[in-house]
Amino acid sequence: MFDRILPYLLSGISVGGQYALIAVGYTMVYGILRLINFAHGDIFTAAGFFMVYIATALPVQFAIPLVIALTVALGFTVERIAYKPLRSAPRMSVMISAIGVSYLLQNLMWYVTGGLAKQYPTIPWISESITIGSATTKVVTLITPVLTILLVIALVTIIQKTKIGMAMRAVSKDFETAQLMGIKINSVISTTFIIGSLLAAVGSVLYFSNYTSVTPTVGAMPGLKAFVAAVFGGIGSIPGAVIGAFIIGICENIIKALGYTTFSDAFTFALLIVILLFKPTGLFGEKTSEKV
């Protein structure tokens, strides 16, 4: 029994790590702007395409940093163009803008790729096979959770221990008073988008190296699931998003192991409904009372 479950468990942990890297971007942006950044999943997909095109020209070890840099630039630009001008607008306007950006990015990707699936490059070493006990898997499956946890620890340390982290926490509670301290709100928000996009880019490299190709909509599903993970963990909470992502990744794959593959996606979204019904603040979410 265990032998049969083990490969699924491994890939569950791995997928969970990939969801976690995306989910952190959702939850951080929400924590500061109270905005669900619908474009985040598309930025993740765009990172996949950056890799496809850059890897044709450059060796992978140079391509990866460049992909990360481009993804960060994309996330930063989206915030500056589509969200910053709406800083004092009602929250609904910003959300609609986010949906707009999401479709814009998707359609741009259709346009550029001509709608054809593009082959994702094979990344040496992490695409190699490895045998653990009875399970044969790729190196990336083992690296993902380790890398995810290291990145999250680094992030939490930045937020708890550094000056910019302190500013982020202050801004997430009170824009106006943060400004009175001399904090530049816009730089803090940009930093948040930069961190979120950086993690999404790393997540994208790990995620797509499990697949052979990238299409413009392929990021939508992991993006949505990461969003569910962020809600499950309590949106705004980084540890919550990470734990939520691992739980979802593992559960999905256990369900597959039990032979109900068809239902693994349905499980995640059923979970979303259950959370929203019974514990809308999620595992670690703060209780917020809307300001009148």
């Binding site: 302190m166 926490r169 008073t177 904090i183």
Partner: protein, 237 residues
């Protein structure tokens, strides 16, 4: 010497004129108070000086520099700090972090540590609660923290918006004695209060505001005995 000069300041909130052209000066080393009823425009005045709201006309001059259109961060950098209404400490930051964030624009690490110690000497309660989240403090402690946080910016002018609001009478007394202490250390203070009595007692100079205008000016002691002020704001006949 005139430190802050506000000239014909007007502020509109979506069509409603909250300030209808007010002018006043704050002299260096003094405590100056704006008193008046709710909605008279007192908070708006401080918010406009801080850069949180942009005036529609008029000018604000601080130490010879025009700060009318500066962003809040720039105004703090010029040396004007605001203790906002309702204290607004960062509830998710510790007491010490709240003080550190008050010094956000400063880069002198060692001096910041010294200044934090100085704040702790002034408010020993804050030292006891150094590692507690500010959200867990009592109202009076939060007010001390809010004042301490503003002090960390080393302001030349400290503006306080209703520091006694919602505090127990004994704590209110503490707050006013802190204000006097700050003055004796050479800090200029612009104070807004609904507690007109206490404010005028410690103020060198006072302005009475009504619906966006300044209607009376005078030394604190003068206003305190002024018949009209007494009737309207001091609750005595």
């Amino acid at each position: 010497m005139i430190m802050l000069k506000v000239t014909d300041l007007k502020v509109n909130y979506s069509g409603i004129e909250a300030l209808k052209g007010i002018s006043f000066d704050v002299r260096q080393g003094q405590i100056v108070t704006l008193i008046g009823a709710n909605g008279a425009g007192k908070s708006t005045t401080l918010r406009a000086i801080s850069g949180l709201v942009k005036p529609s006309s008029g000018s604000i001059n601080f130490m010879g520099r025009d700060i009318t259109m500066l962003n809040p961060q720039r105004v703090v950098a010029e040396g004007v700090a605001l203790v906002p209404e309702g204290r607004r400490v960062f509830p998710n930051l510790t007491v010490k972090e709240n003080l550190k964030i008050g010094a956000y624009l400063r880069n002198d690490k060692d001096e910041i540590e010294d200044d934090i110690k100085d704040i702790y000497r002034r408010f020993p309660r804050l030292r006891e609660r150094e590692w507690q989240l500010a959200g867990t403090l009592s109202g009076g402690e939060q007010q001390m923290l809010a004042v301490g946080r503003a002090m960390m910016a080393k302001p030349k002018l400290l503006m306080m918006d209703e520091p006694s609001l919602g505090l127990a009478p004994l704590v209110v007394k503490d707050i006013f004695s802190i204000i006097r202490d700050l003055k004796s250390e050479g800090i200029t203070i612009l104070l807004i209060e609904q507690n007109a009595n206490a404010a005028l007692r410690c103020a060198d100079f006072g302005f009475v505001m009504e619906t966006g205008h300044i209607t009376m000016t005078g030394a604190g002691s003068e206003l305190l005995v002024n018949k009209a002020v007494k009737e309207a704001y001091l609750g005595s006949k």
